[in-house]
Symmetry: C2
Subunit: 289 residues, 2 copies
């Protein structure tokens, strides 16, 4: 996993516009928000899924970078004063604190465009029509019926007690959609898989995506700001519905564990080629930050 993280850092450095290209301040803010931090969970999932289809690392790098750029843009916008209004991210001041709100807004906007550019202009797939499918997958995952829609539901839910299925609906969009896209894009980078195989990969991603959020909610409640690199206890303070508020800590932990098992089971049929997917599922559920 450390190798993939290092590789990703290099790829992102290369793919982001250099800090001295005009407009310099905008490009510096994009690099600030993307580089030097983050667990790179989505790239890890993308690379792990690529093992299923024997995808070359050069292709996976582009696909994972595109997904990570979408993720980074969503964090920048999510931290803005009109959204979560947060000052700390990955142990550093958030983008609008380090720069300013307008620059942060445009940095997020530019990163979204760059993600699609990276996926459209590089050799990421065995053929052009698969590449179009990847672009479509990422666009759907990022948009109003994916991640951005999930953020809207999150926003409208502040102060409400959501039923468990409503909470799940929100997270399937807010974090789940991009995690599913990361896994699907990784799988599509390599040799063609049939619909049943892709179905298993998507089932894995669905479980891992939900588990990721359940664990996030537990950590927000149990870990410190220093460990997380972002403001801890934020959900409770901002009166947001979470798995912890819906289920309590203990049952949340049990549920994350059962999702981990379900995710691992979903890819049993792939044998050793799914080893890395199983490892990343373990990492997501057992992490302490």
């Amino acid at each position: 996993m450390g190798q993939v993280q290092t590789r990703m850092e290099d790829a992102l450095k290369r793919l982001l516009p250099a800090p001295d290209i005009a407009p310099g301040r905008l490009h510096q803010s994009m690099r600030y928000a993307v580089l030097g931090g983050g667990k790179r969970v989505r790239p890890l999932l993308c690379f792990a899924a690529g093992e299923i289809s024997s995808a070359p690392a050069e292709r996976l790098e582009f696909a994972a970078a595109a997904v990570e750029m979408i993720h980074a843009y969503s964090l920048i916008h999510d931290d803005l004063p009109c959204m979560d209004d947060d000052v700390l991210r990955r142990g550093k001041p958030t983008c609008h604190i380090e720069y300013d709100e307008a620059t942060a807004l445009l940095a997020g906007d530019s990163l979204q465009a760059l993600a699609f550019q990276v996926l459209a202009e590089n050799a990421v797939a065995p053929d052009a029509s698969t590449q179009l499918r990847m672009l479509c997958t990422l666009a759907q995952a990022a948009g109003s019926r994916g991640m951005a829609g999930g953020q809207a539901i999150d926003l409208f839910s502040v102060g409400k007690a959501l039923a468990l299925e409503e909470l799940e609906f929100m997270h399937i969009h807010k974090t789940g959609a991009l995690i599913r896209a990361a896994v699907l894009l990784g799988a599509l980078c390599g040799k063609a898989l049939d619909a049943a195989q892709l179905g298993r990969v998507v089932h894995f991603a669905h479980c891992v995506g939900l588990a990721f959020q359940v664990v996030d909610d537990v950590l927000d409640c149990e870990a410190s700001t220093a460990t997380l690199g972002k403001t801890a206890g934020k959900d409770l303070a901002s009166n947001k519905p979470t798995y912890v508020s819906a289920l309590g800590v203990q049952r949340s932990k049990e549920w994350a564990e059962s999702l981990r098992v379900e995710a691992r089971d979903a890819v049993t049929g792939f044998g050793g080629e799914a080893d890395r997917l199983r490892q990343v599922a373990d990492f997501i559920v057992l992490r302490k930050f």
Copy 2:
């Protein structure tokens, strides 16, 4: 032109998520910002360029809708309090006034994703590799070395007196990039053109894009808020460098006229197939709103 505008309104209505699909408020805000207004200059240019390559209208509809979604998202974000802080757009309250800032932010984000989705999932080109080229063109035009970059330069220029070439650099990015993309996408929807033909189309778009901005600056200074449907006199009030502040009204008008002539000349070689391009160039320069 009225036919294209009606056709576009129908296409955009169809391509935007229905207002009752969850999250409803987000989808309503996206429809609010895109539908029922605007001159549709970019779709007009896209359709006109499609005549050069005999592109079918069904393809042009998707391409023009994608460009118009990028344009609409940029207006939503541009009107936010941290950017131009404007309350009026196309004769209606701006998106964040009608909804709220967070919803407007996410509506813009979602429209950008939807633009790429529309271009990736529909039959817009004669083949998949041309379609990828169109996606790449739109992503570059929207990003930090295109439109979003131009907005950043605009932002950093408030209160500064820019040299004419700096002003031009800003507008070649801020409005020019997306106008060039509209024309190029329209041309790419049809039969393959050679590099020289595409070069002439891009030259046309470059002139028309600059002329559009020069005329915009003159109108901001000379027309009323009622006629424009947006706050007039805004540039002067916010101390922004414009063509009017750099050249004066009279020389700005003369320059717009010379750009119109240069644009028309650029497409002379296409004969009657460029009639519509010439008409749209006239419309852009001679418009009163």
